[in-house]
Amino acid sequence: MSLTVTWFLLLGAALFSIGVAGVLIRRNALVMFMSIELMLNAVTLTFVAVSKDLGLIEGQVAAVFVMVVAAAEVTIGLAIIVAVFRTRSSANVDELAEMKG
């Protein structure tokens, strides 16, 4: 049983699903945030795997882009969460409904 691209794709799908479940189920903003990171990394993994399989460089370029975006996102996202936590002493997203229409 060789390490074909299918395994990588299956792993990516599994990681992504765990991330989706985390976002949907957990209430803590920090954990939701980590779940989103998980989803991003799952996608990155898929990109790299397919890139290797098809012998194209674009997938790996995309992966680099995703990592950069993720880094930037973490910075801003964490800053927001910390700010929210400071004012409310909680990171429970169910209590944050200021943008209700």
């Binding site: 169910d94 409904a97 229409g101």
Partner: protein, 624 residues
Amino acid sequence: MTDLLWLVVALPLLGAVINLLFGKRIGEPISGWLAFGFVAISWAIAVPATLSFVTGSGHTETIYLFSWIPAIGVDAAILWDPLSALMTMIVTGIGSLIHLYSIGYMRGDERYPRFFAFMNLFIASMMILVLAANYAVMFVGWELVGLSSYLLISFWFTKPSAAAAGKKAFIVNRIGDWGFIVALMIIFISFGTFDFHTVFASAPTAITVGTATAITLLLFVGAAGKSAQLPLHIWLPDAMEGPTPVSALIHAATMVTAGVFMIARSAVLFEMAPVAGAIVAVVGTATALLAALIAISQTDIKKVLAYSTISQLGYMVLGVGVGAYTAGIFHLTTHAFFKALLFLGAGSVIHAMADEQDMRKMGGLRKNMPITFITMGAAWLAISGIFPFSGFWSKDEILAATFAKGGGFILLWGVGLLVALLTAFYMTRLFVMTFLGKPRWSGDVQPHESPATMTIPLVVLGFFTVSVGLINTPVRLAFEHFLESSFEGVAHIEALTFGSFSILATVALVVAVVGIAWAWPKYNTDELPAEDGKFWQRSLLAFGVDEIYGRTIVAPGKKASEWAADSMDPKVIDGAAHGIGRGISGFGSVLGKMQTGQVRGYAGVLAVAGAILIIVFVVVGGGF
């Protein structure tokens, strides 16, 4: 000679500007003399040019000044012909006399210079009206005399009644002006110009009788406004709120005759439209009768004269309506003298009586004011139509021309005679109540003769009142010859023979004598007769015309305006706008409900939508 005629307009205008801007510094009485000087010089400039028509050396001229509204080809230009020359003489001549009179009359008024500024403005406006070479410029003068009339009627504006009277005069005149403007539109569309010369020369070929009727009737609406004919006569009695010299100059001698002048000027057009002419004649007669019926009961001396003016204007309008343009203008001329004299005399009396205008509180003034008494006596006989005073000749000429027209016009002649009877009656009533009988004023009033600046104009006007009629007697029709070239191309009414004229004149004279004989004993008593019958009461209230207008036009009009202001705008139009606004924000708030603010809710929707998309791709097999 005619090169300088523009100064006749420019000088009074300059006088008005000077007195308006620097009057306070110039002060009393110099500002008055200055204003008088400008008008007198205007008169002097016009005299030689007028005399050239008398001697026969003058000829009709159009004097181009400058291009005024090029878009509709209107030039500022002067038409100098016998008719405008005559009017110039009347306006500047009587105008300067009344300026002179006002120097004394207005003494001590705190807005003395302002008064003379307005008077000069009036003379300038009236000269624009009279000298205009086209309808558009005539309209300018027409409106500007309305403005000066407004300013002078409400001169004592702190009195609410004076302010209201000025406003009423201007607005009623504007109703007439609307007719004038529409007439101007039709004239321009049919002729492509307003120029008198072109319009009159081409009218018989260029327009149909129907068009001519429309134009003339609309012009007459304008004339009815300015000359206080039915149903627009209501402003003139109120206009007596103005200072008396104003009543004499504007609301008796000159401005109110502008309508008659305008009809005479448009004689060619009126000749083309006999129906319009007949309507004009009927309206004129009706006005003469109604005003005379009101005049007999008035107790305010100026009100009597005001209604008398309306009545006499009715005569003039009757004259020009039946096509007797010369007769109409002749009566305009004689009336200018004797009515100006009557008003100035009344002013002199009011002055002497410490601003009392009620004739019931006068009486016996002949001893205190002999000059006023004698000159007013002449005017009384002239307006009553007593031989050989001026009014006799001019009034008779109108009546004779009406009679000569025959047919239904005989009826108008009959009414005209009735009005002559009433005129003699109410003027005798006025004269006797004022000057004869016992004094009825209270002890603290000290009537006295007026100063020379006031009596000199009276005497000059008195001279003309007696004599001016003689310029056009059946024996010697000098006046008619003078005006001939102004009414070129207008059919002449078949002249009556000297015999039949004499018979008609005798009838009229008898009627006038009857009128005087009726009133004289009735009022020359110690105790004034009671005038409290039903007719007298209604007559005193001018038959309630003002009230009828108030109920049928003013009140509903105001209601409609209020409805538009209070309901239409805020409720209907703004209501629609607010409705649209509410609709949009309502739709927005429905959409807004979907935004719960729950992050996990949004994420759930996202996940479900993503899952559906994936399933769709898998099932459909993706065309991507």
